[in-house]
Symmetry: C2
Amino acid sequence: MPTRSPVLVDLKFDPQTLANALQKAFPDRGSINLADPADAGVDLTEVDYAVLWKPEQALFSRAPNLKVIFSGGAGVDHIMDLAGLPDIPVVRFVDRSLTTQMSEWVVLQCLTHLRQVNAYRKQATGGVWRELAQPEAREVTVGVMGLGVLGLDAVAKLKTMGFDVIGWSRGKKTIDGVMTYDTNNLDGFLRKTDILVGLLPLTPDTVGIYDNSLFAKLRQGGALGKPVFINAGRGKSQNQADLTTALSSGVLGGASLDVFDIEPLPAGDPLWAMDNVVITPHVAAASDVRALFRSVEIQIDRFERGEALEHVVDRATGY
Amino acid sequence: MPTRSPVLVDLKFDPQTLANALQKAFPDRGSINLADPADAGVDLTEVDYAVLWKPEQALFSRAPNLKVIFSGGAGVDHIMDLAGLPDIPVVRFVDRSLTTQMSEWVVLQCLTHLRQVNAYRKQATGGVWRELAQPEAREVTVGVMGLGVLGLDAVAKLKTMGFDVIGWSRGKKTIDGVMTYDTNNLDGFLRKTDILVGLLPLTPDTVGIYDNSLFAKLRQGGALGKPVFINAGRGKSQNQADLTTALSSGVLGGASLDVFDIEPLPAGDPLWAMDNVVITPHVAAASDVRALFRSVEIQIDRFERGEALEHVVDRATGY
């Protein structure tokens, strides 16, 4: 064992991809990979750093001297919810590739609903050649909820594509050329929104926030006719029974969903079969494990030089 | 009849939309709408200006004193091909909304292939939750053929989304941060291209340019595995038999097609039924007729003040 503490790695990712990435990661301190049977019983009492994705609560008893915890993804709810979480910094994973992929997915979904991909595909299935009335992007207001790194990048790219874009966050943010709202005026934000894009973290405040009463406030009769809901944040932020009802009753005209209250989405769930609902299996922005380890190394270097860690979770807000 | 020459309108658009738009267009000179039975037999000998979409050759004998011809769309091949076309300026329709819509469609199609929409939709049909290996946009090179107003806007937006973008045009163009090619190095351009976006005008040089030999030069084994062909220019630029073969034999991994050699695409055409081929009925960028008439009015004003017309077709190149 090197004199520097090895990095504890407990990630529920593809084992082979993980093992390959670890061969080159942390060359000056090594790692302990809990997915590797050879490492499973190792003593963790001297470990300083852990990179975690959906860890077990018991881990914190086995590794009582952790100094910093790194999340394996953009979200940290899988860590913050655990009883026994020590009072040490928890660092979110912020990465260019994660951000780029998320904006790809969000722009793709907004354009899919704007350009009536579902309706044209149905026509094509029957060999039908028929032009549909087509609003312009600037006639459609996309409301982005959540204005962190991911939300801000999505806002900028949606604007470039010509959409009218507005933003909402818990605390007021100012974005050049974009009307923004906060907790004091969620209703005003929803009333203007034709396509709602959810990029909120999961916190006690955002559990079930996308529910009947929220969907009912979105703009009806806008350029798309009915509002559309797009969620790439966290599944537990959506009241999924309410969402399913809103889609089948016509309160919502469509949806694109990458996240669900239970994942994988069960095979018989009615959402799979719904017209105008795009479903992807939590792949909007997949963590690249090599990029994750590079980012962890950078933060450990900062920490050991006595510099401030970046992207540390605020315990008061939970993100 | 006002003292100023009325504008001759011969557009094969939706008659009611056209009639509504004409009620407010050209208030100081009026119009003659050949789609209106009341106007069908009117004397056209004194008419100065014509707005045309797929006109009959005979029109030029009926209106022998035209001074300017305006195309009803971005393309002009439907006019330039006609025998009897008088030697007067032909003005292309260039419009913000046309450009924005075209880039929406192009970005949508590039993201559709990048993010494996077809594969995920197939999985969803069976209720299958499975993550697929996902390249990043910057690992994929989009080659845009045609660098006019539409091509340049598409290039800029594809770059914003993170794609590696290169461009080709007949004559060399310089674009900041984008590698460009011309007729001297089409093969070099194709060898680097994972997704080929066709935005070429139809001219004698571009008839059937997308053929077997061109498809065979696109990069095999790039981040998407096989190359993808996207055409929103003109259908007669594609050798459609070659295209169909390239798709079924696996030379191409997918396609998005808005244009076809014969439109509407016949109901039994094999392209309709192909996996990983997106078909839209020539709607990528639909001319807004009100915007068209505003643009024609602006150009007539310039012409009558003795200023140079904008967007005039070069007879040597045909666009």
